[in-house]
Symmetry: C2
Subunit: 360 residues, 2 copies
């Protein structure tokens, strides 16, 4: 039933848009209907290189795509500093919004984007793919299981990769006027999201940045981290960096269980993903080995996580478009919490690693 | 050649002494020759239950064992607050010393123990078993390999276990007058040692304790952590706790490689142990999976790590006893660095989580 497909336009031809265009094609309830770049040539080349259908429209300006009445929703992989302007305009043009992370330069900007979406009855979702992997649901079941995991005591996450010289010189993520949050906004976003998942989305009370962040000459964060504290004693730490080998770990420890993941943002393989989970792990009597150790859990998926994200987004848009439903608030609420924590880390860095309280 | 066996006496019948007595039996160059407790009955029962040879002597006081001229060396699993007194006396009685960790309540005490060992020409070693596992050598080779790992950027470690109510009430490790460092001295010792291993034993410059340690009513640490900073930008964090499920992780990230370990203190199995190592791990072109992921390395051992520790200790004692060698300084030097970091964490906790500089 082609009529039921949600028609998605892509605004901007960033590298990540290649992966998301493929995901829109793979999602059974969505279709690529348009692409816009600031140059028509670039948009045409992108459409040709990324298997857009012949019917897809190609625009030489973002405004033109937003004026297209056939476009239900837009995917927006623009640099973070452009989000406020274009996301608000997209909402004013009644387009549901799938927005790259970090969602904004700060939560005040994000609130203006959210307000525009809400007042126009539109679905908002950020493009954090890994949370849509069925592995993440399995992890969340484990983490919220009073018997298998108990209460969260601590969680450590990291996301690092070794950017090359070209990236560190020219990528938008190291440019103050484009992605001023740098590694914190890019990689830290995922770390914080994983911490929030482990904490069942309860915001920490206090955030203290690590003392030795690396900033480039423009003040953009290349390497940073923080400790997060909750009132009940839960502690989290994370580290993100453009300057260290590709690594993405979660270690979450509860009163009764432990979770280990080594590929949480991008699973090693597209169609299967694993984690290690242990409950009441224990030593043998002489403490020369473990009587009970964590075991490996593998979760398969027919669709890659980015296609599952698009499928969920298109489903929610479809509920609104075809069934008059209200937008789902879960996703923008989680986006906002993630941004709040990033803001606090950033503030702590700027204030000389002082503790920063989070006020929701 | 039985004459070449190093004769080891056990001072104190703590639970851990069962494992170490077995290790002394397993080590090809050492023999159990005596055990002392404050009660002769307890010492006799311990010797009987732990397969001491018939020739082994049983003493009802520590002093008596230390007077025995057949004893070359002592293993001392006494509560930390007793180390200074008994370790110094053992050295005065010319006994080489295998001492439980933490080696002392603080580095000033430890320096007095070391001085007693050095001035008597005695070998000192602490009982940190995992560093004697051949897996640890394989990990160290990886971590110091410029091509496979590069320069260390960050390392995170943890060691937690869920102590039961009985332990939290009565174990020596929660008693201010016995093991005042609590979880920090017990579990934190291992975390700090792993961090030092990853940093090739370079001491951090600054230590900042985590803000929400849990102390019992006597001020003994049940749960704590810290961030460690080096001048070149390396960062480490650790977390140790008696209040969370059994977990012991190392994640070390270099400019070119990553190491993951989940059972670093006590390997899951006695005779084989694994770690995950990746070099220049990378995504595939579309970032939908990894082109190069970490691989699992398994190292086998005929002797369990605690027997390898005893073997190394007895080898060094033998070099001194039979070949007039000097004591090996490597081991006490590492013990001292570990204690220095613990002292700094403890100081930071007591000073309201202020940064503490480490002065060697």
């Amino acid at each position: 039933m082609a009529e039921a497909l949600i028609q998605i336009g892509v605004i901007g031809c960033a590298d990540i848009a290649r992966k998301v265009s493929r995901a829109i094609t793979l999602a059974p309830n969505a279709a690529l209907c348009a692409v816009a770049s600031r140059s028509l040539e670039k948009a045409s080349a992108f459409a040709a290189a990324n298997a857009f259908p012949i019917s897809a429209k190609v625009y030489g300006s973002y405004e033109a795509l937003l004026e297209d009445p056939d476009v239900d929703a837009v995917y927006m992989p623009l640099p973070t500093s452009l989000h406020l302007r274009w996301a608000v305009l997209a909402a004013q043009k009644k387009k549901h919004l799938l927005l790259e992370k970090p969602v904004a330069l700060n939560v005040a900007e994000f609130d203006r984007i959210l307000e525009a979406c809400e007042s126009n009855g539109l679905q908002f979702m950020d493009n954090t793919m890994w949370v849509h992997n069925p592995r993440t649901s399995a992890m969340a079941h484990f983490l919220t299981d009073a018997h298998r995991f108990g209460n969260l005591k601590s969680v450590r996450t990291c996301f690092t990769f070794a950017a090359d010289g070209e990236y560190l010189e020219n990528d938008i993520r190291v440019k103050r006027d484009l992605d001023a949050l740098g590694s914190l906004g890019d990689q830290g976003w995922y770390c914080v999201r994983a911490i929030l998942l482990a904490a069942n989305y309860e915001l920490p009370k206090t955030v203290v940045a690590s003392r030795e962040p690396v900033l480039n000459k423009d003040g953009v964060i290349l390497d940073s981290g923080a400790s997060l504290y909750w009132e009940d004693g839960k502690v989290a730490t994370f580290h993100c960096s453009f300057l260290a080998n590709l690594t993405m770990d979660i270690t979450a420890i509860g009163t009764r269980g432990t979770l280990h993941v080594h590929d949480f943002v991008i699973p090693y393989h597209e169609k299967e993903a694993s984690f290690f989970a242990g409950t009441q792990t224990s030593f043998n009597d002489l403490v020369t080995g473990w009587a009970k150790q964590p075991s490996k859990h593998t979760v398969n998926t027919d669709l890659p996580q980015e296609a599952l994200l698009v499928k969920e987004f298109a489903r929610l848009v479809g509920e609104i478009k075809f069934k008059n439903s209200k937008p789902e608030k879960k996703w923008p609420t989680i986006s906002r919490k993630t941004q709040l924590v990033l803001d606090a880390v950033n503030a702590s860095i700027r204030r000389g690693f002082e503790p920063v309280q989070i006020q929701d």
